[in-house]
Symmetry: C2
Subunit: 300 residues, 2 copies
């Protein structure tokens, strides 16, 4: 049996997964993402620790590395990742040299979209949008049956103005990401409730339980996401919008207010289906493993 | 020499052009668009009058018909055109029966983009956006070298919220079209100046001359367009944005404030070139003629 390690460098955690060639996640290991690691040295060390641990028990054929922000896939370079404070960092080669293994490299969001497009909630759609909601928010655009990224620059829906009131990591105010990311939801709940260390999972459970502060924060987050969906629908007219990432575990608690907003707001536009990612928060790991196995099959 | 007639049904005028096979516009004839012609009967009659007049002097091989709004190209149907009050109108077949000639059918905006993409300002760009500004505003999206329309629904940038203050024909408030269309600019100037029947051409000349009301109206219109460009850039990352339609005749008076806004507002995004359509306000007619000649060459 062949194995690969899928590594997703997020704003909060580096998420490692050992995946077999049937795309089963066999084991996972997370490490906190080093803060402000502008050279990538600490990040590479953390990833190497994950791969080394998995390699003690299994033979690893390749690593799939996915990162957020804008990137140049052919050269394996992160052009800009606000949450990581990376600028023009050749992270793929840094990692490949450190672990001496083939490394597939892609964007966290587009990688998860690969899994949803090949065998998940966007299967068979010619036009679809995949939006994982985590510490950051970006979209993968499936247009005429392919993921289109305009050389890695497209899909930054997290930084579209949705008339929000919060300041964003990008320097603007009103961005989707500043209202609807898991980080933004936690921060808003903490500042309004006076509590600390509250996760979004706890917050959407409080929403279901009727907690008024949680409901207020949730309405802000879901209405900002609904307005962002409206923009995407008006410009790109997808058949389906698929939500992934940590927040997708909220399921209908997340989808229902967005669907209700769109039902009352869309006029001439084509209404898309709204769905939770088939692979839920594992879409990234599975898509990443698919790309790593693509590399193994290509004999690289 | 072969000739075709390019017909562009706009919210204000039906613009007819006699075009030769070198894509020279030989003659033009405009007729006011019939108001609220929900059955299309008056519109077909007006187009037939234009074609008949050109046919007195030249042999017409085909007609190219382009319309605004959302449409179904394979069946030649206008699904929705707010300014024309059309709903599910099979306008191509209605016209083809009335004039007994092959009719190429497309969207006004995407047709003009054909001309700019094949031999105009978007030539050689893999990712570009074409925005003609007339009575209405929509965008043609050139993504990975092709015009992508998501079955005719995509590109309705005119109905994206740009924090505007005006009510829109679509029923919402804040849309780009309600702030930046030629109709919106004329209406805003008229309501603020108390004058009537002022064209956008007169208004941008007043801007250059320093008229304070014209400048105020112009700033509203160009800043709304700049915000819409910012949304498109953040989501689609085009290499170039090309402006066409009536307003493009304003040239740098139109481009400069948009460029200045984007220079100060964009952060991580890729900055596109901003250009006026190579074919200026004739891009639609020339693209439409290209499609009609495609039909003639295909022997249909």
């Amino acid at each position: 049996m062949n194995y690969v390690v899928a590594v997703d460098v997020g704003g909060t955690d580096i998420k490692g997964a050992l995946v077999d060639s049937d795309f089963n996640v066999i084991a996972t290991k997370n490490i906190r993402t080093p803060k402000a690691d502008t050279t990538g040295v600490e990040t590479v060390r953390a990833i190497k620790a994950i791969v080394t641990e998995f390699a003690q028990h299994q033979t690893i054929a390749a690593v799939g590395l996915v990162v957020p922000g804008t990137l140049d896939e052919p050269t394996g370079t992160s052009r800009w990742a606000g949450n990581l404070q990376w600028n023009n960092l050749p992270i793929r080669n840094l990692l490949a040299e450190a672990i001496n293994m083939p490394v597939a490299f892609s964007h966290d969001v587009r990688t998860a979209a690969v899994a949803e497009m090949r065998s998940g909630a966007a299967k068979d759609a010619q036009n679809a949008i995949f939006i994982p909601v985590g510490t950051g928010i970006a979209a993968a655009l499936i247009i005429d049956g392919e993921i289109r990224s305009a050389e890695g620059f497209a899909g930054e829906i997290g930084h579209v103005d949705v008339r929000g009131k919060y300041s964003c990591v990008c320097g603007k105010t009103g961005c989707l990401e500043a209202a609807s990311s898991t980080l933004a939801i936690s921060k808003a709940y903490e500042s309004q409730s006076g509590k600390t260390g509250v996760t979004t999972e706890e917050i959407y459970k409080l929403v279901v339980a009727g907690d008024p502060i949680a409901i207020h924060v949730w309405n802000d987050a879901t209405s900002a996401m609904a307005r962002a969906c409206e923009v995407l629908i008006t410009i790109l007219a997808p058949e389906v919008i698929v939500f992934g990432g940590g927040l997708s575990n909220a399921g209908e608690t997340f989808l229902k207010p967005i669907r209700e907003y769109l039902d009352s707001s869309l006029t001439f536009q084509r209404k898309p289906r709204l769905e939770i990612a088939h692979y839920k928060s594992q879409a990234g790991a599975i898509g990443c493993a698919m790309l790593a196995f693509d590399l193994v099959k290509a004999g690289k």
